[in-house]
Symmetry: C2
DNA sequence: CGGTATCCCGGCCGATACTG
DNA sequence: CAGTATCGGCCGGGATACCG
């Protein structure tokens, strides 16, 4: 297991530190972990998807938010947009190698959280019961 | 490496699916990956911290948001609050075993994003240059 | 199909003041 | 030190309409 010492060692020497208010990595982390960014990256992990396929997969996302999310992820170099000038148009979105690395770690987190939900729900009941 | 097939296989059979609008895991994931939740869990990974130590470590967080964040994480069973009834009061926050597992995966993601920032910034320049 | 443009509301969140 | 209470702005994001 990686220790925190290793994880945070020499942060002052590293170029990017997400814990600092001004660091650009904080913005990228928010694109990645944001409500729709996380689910979009997760959905694309298995392979390329078209716009409306993504919409169906990420339950509840609006056209506007999916569009914004994809633009942000494409700008950060995590998603590649492949538009075919046919009629009707066909646009495929897929992870870049970088995006794949991010999505992999993201899915590890998502999966772990999903697997912990029974514990989480039990903890909530205990917490709520203690103040009622 | 874990494949997406494995990650998403039989989602319909699993009790919790974050991609579904109504699943409670989506709410917990948002606590965990939210702007302040992620940084708070990351800060606590190395060990217990007091309220104002956390405030200093999570640069830019307000008292109110840190308080709200800690309450949410405590309710979800990820953070344990230890209050000593001394004067002046002393309150320590630390990760639960469950919170530790979450934070570990979160830090893997954060670290990867930080390590990718040069690529991300380069991708942004290319993206912006392409439409200017 | 694959988006963009516009309107607008709720709530996230920061600032400030106050308390035990 | 460790918070809670209250106010207010601003913007995330949903709804709707429109376009190539």
């Amino acid at each position: 297991m990686t220790t925190t010492q290793e994880l945070t060692a020499g942060l002052g020497d590293l170029p990017y530190n997400v814990f600092a208010r001004v660091c650009p990595s904080r913005g990228t982390l928010e694109h990645v972990t944001g409500r729709w960014g996380a689910l979009t990256l997760g959905a694309l992990y298995e392979g390329s998807l078209r716009f409306n396929e993504l919409r169906r997969r990420v339950d509840g996302v609006s056209e506007k938010m999916l569009s914004q999310t994809l633009h942000a992820l494409e700008r950060d170099g995590l998603v590649h947009r492949e538009a075919q000038p046919t009629n009707p148009p066909r646009v495929d979105y897929e992870l870049t190698p970088l995006g794949h690395g991010v999505a992999e770690r993201l899915l590890a987190l998502i999966h772990f959280v999903e697997g912990s939900m029974d514990d989480v729900l039990a903890a909530r009941e205990r917490y709520d019961a203690a103040r009622a």
